[in-house]
Each structure stands twice: as C-alpha cells, then as structure tokens.
Subunit: 190 residues, 2 copies
DNA sequence: GTCTATATACTGATAGAC
DNA sequence: GTCTATCAGTATATAGAC
C-alpha cells in the first residue's frame, strides 16, 4: 500500500469535488490530477462514493480536533467560547478548500444522510455539552438547546463564508472581534 | 407556448435536483417526471444549466417577495424584524422543497457564481438597508454591516434547517419565540 | 409545441499484464 | 500496487415528422 498515492488521490478529489461538484467530477479526472491511473483509484477506494465519504469524515474530524484542543485551560465560559470560536475560524482560514468542501457537502444528497449525521454529531456533541453547562451556570440564555446548537453552527458557517469571500477583512482586528461579539451576545444571558 | 408543460418541467426539476442533486439528475428523468418528452424540455430551456438557473432565481425571488410584503406597516424596528423573520420562516415551512433546494444550491458550483450573487443581492440589499437604518437609530449593534448581514443570513438558514428537520418543534410557541429572541439579541445594541 | 429516434461523447468500474 | 485497455451503460443535445 502506497500512502503517498492514496493521499494524492484524496487531495485531488478534495480540490475537484469542491470546484466542480461530486457528480460533475469523473474518477478518471481525479486519477489524472493525482498523477495515478484509474485502476489505482479503485484499488484504494471500493467506489467513488466511498472516496467521498472518507474525505468528508476526515475533514470534519480535523476541524473537531482543532476546536477540542483549543478548549483546554479556560477559566470562564466566555473565554472558552472565544478560544474555540477563534480556533475554528483560524482552521477554516488556513484550510479554505477544506472549509468550502464541507460547506458544500454538508447539505448535499451526494453523501448519505448516515455519513452526514455521523460527522455532525461528532462535532456538535462536544459543543452541546458546553452550552448546557453554560445554561446551568446561568451564563447563557435559556433557549432550547437543540435550536441554539443549530443556530451556533449556522453562525460559524456564515462567518467562515464571509472571511473566505473577503480575505482582507480577516486581517482587521475590528472584524475578528465583531464576529465573536455578535456570536457571543446571541447566546449570552442578558 | 404551453405554460403548463413548462411549469411541469420546473416542478419536476425542483424535486429531482433537490433529492438527487443536479448532475445526478438526467434531463431525461426530469422530462419523464414532468410527463413530457426530452425534446420538449430543450424547447423551453436552451440547456440543463439554464433550467437550473431559472429555477434558482424564481425560488429566491419568491422568498424575497414574501419578506418584503411583510415589512409594510411597522411602528418600531424590532417589530419589523420580527414580521420579516416570521414571514421568511413561514414561507420556508410552507415550501419545504423550495427551501431545501435553495440551501443546497446557494453553495453549489453547479450554479455559476454570477447567478448566485445576483440572487443574493436581490434579497440582501433590501435587508442591508434595514440594518443600516437600525444602526443609525441606535437600536442595533455597531458591527460591520457586511459581516452582520452574512451572519443574519446564516442564522436564518440554520433556523429553517432546524424546523424542517424537527417539524414538531414548529408547533411549539416556545421554539418559535426563542428562535427570534436569539436572532434579535444577536443584532440588538445591548 | 410536442413528439420519437438517434448522434456523439463520456461515465464508473473491471481484467489482466507487469 | 500500479498500470493500460476496454466494456457496457448513460449523458446531453439535436433532427425531423407531425
């Protein structure tokens, strides 16, 4: 098993799926861009569908790990929230194609619902616990937890979308602070 | 020109594109579901791509009209915001396939960037003016307008997604009120 | 305007040599 | 493990009768 070739296939697939979409991308073009033969692609991945699923799960896992590791060592909840928020944003800005890939496929029927839910709960479970803890402590608003969680996810997606579309804003302190202020005041207890 | 046949094609395309995705849906299957021949589809739409573009623009226009008409007759900004927010949500819940279609294709490369931006500015322009007015009046937070607008859009998408995934929550006053409270406190000046 | 029939090209996946 | 060559199926779009 050649790890380099497999990784090259994953990298090429990430780029092409994001730019053109899943069905619009042929396995032949993925192989060509990866610098391997079509037969090689089907040696590493049983089908085109499995290639997409592996890609999606690995990308989401990477973001989840990044956010989780930013959590350690927080004294109050607002600081914890800010650490996680900024870690997530920083990851997205450092990995724009991965973020764009995720944004596109988290809603797409190209991925089975099973795979999408799996990836989602992996990340949101960890954040849901944190929100609940904040409500218990009286720091966060008493909105229904499931609704609040989905809303937070939506704000994160919208914010990364904004900074990826307007990279110059990412350099401005005003914008970096404002995006967290808006997020925080949406969940804080007033 | 037969309006019924053309509309039948648009209706079938909406359903199939949403369920299967654009590239995964053949023009032959759209025609078959619409009860027309493949030749008829290409008589009304120059290409598969133009069919998707027309569909997207008409759906976005419908939502925009719905929100705009909810604006008339507001005494204060918070009430206006609530009227628009609830009108948008109500439209999405009454037209779930249109909302799901939009969620999927507003990020998809199947649609040209040009078409996506066109549809977005059509709706967001009107809302951007309203946010600006609220900032001038000192009612809304002084976050950068472009960032705030994108965030609002993200919250709306996340909320509709939540209620479409959990329709029973849409019947509960607690949830309907909470979703607007969270939205409002995210933009209000505290 | 709508149909049937078809042209042309490309697709995912496999077989078998090396 | 990786390659070349290829199969069988399906795609978009067109042509021409009605």
């Amino acid at each position: 098993m050649n790890k380099d070739k497999k990784q090259a296939i994953l990298d090429a697939a990430l780029m092409l799926f994001t730019r053109q979409g899943y069905h619009a991308t042929s396995t032949a073009s993925v192989a060509k861009n990866a610098g391997v033969a079509t037969g090689t692609l089907f040696h590493h991945f049983a089908s085109k569908e499995e290639l997409l699923a592996q890609l999606f799960l690995s990308v989401k896992q990477e973001l989840a790990d990044e956010m989780r590791s930013a959590l350690k060592g927080a004294d109050n909840l607002e600081q914890s929230a800010q650490d996680i928020w900024q870690a997530g944003l920083a990851w997205a800005m450092s990995n724009p194609n991965k973020q764009l890939f995720f944004q596109q496929f988290c809603m797409s029927p190209a991925l089975s619902l099973e795979i999408r839910k799996m990836a989602m709960e992996e990340v949101l479970g960890f954040l849901g616990a944190l929100l609940h803890q904040g409500q218990e402590a009286g720091v966060l608003a008493q909105f229904p937890l499931d609704l609040m969680l989905e809303n937070c996810h939506g704000q994160f997606l919208a914010t990364t979308q904004f900074f990826l579309d307007n990279p110059e804003r990412w350099q401005q302190q005003e914008y970096r602070q404002a995006c967290f202020r808006q997020f925080w005041q949406s969940i804080a207890r007033l």
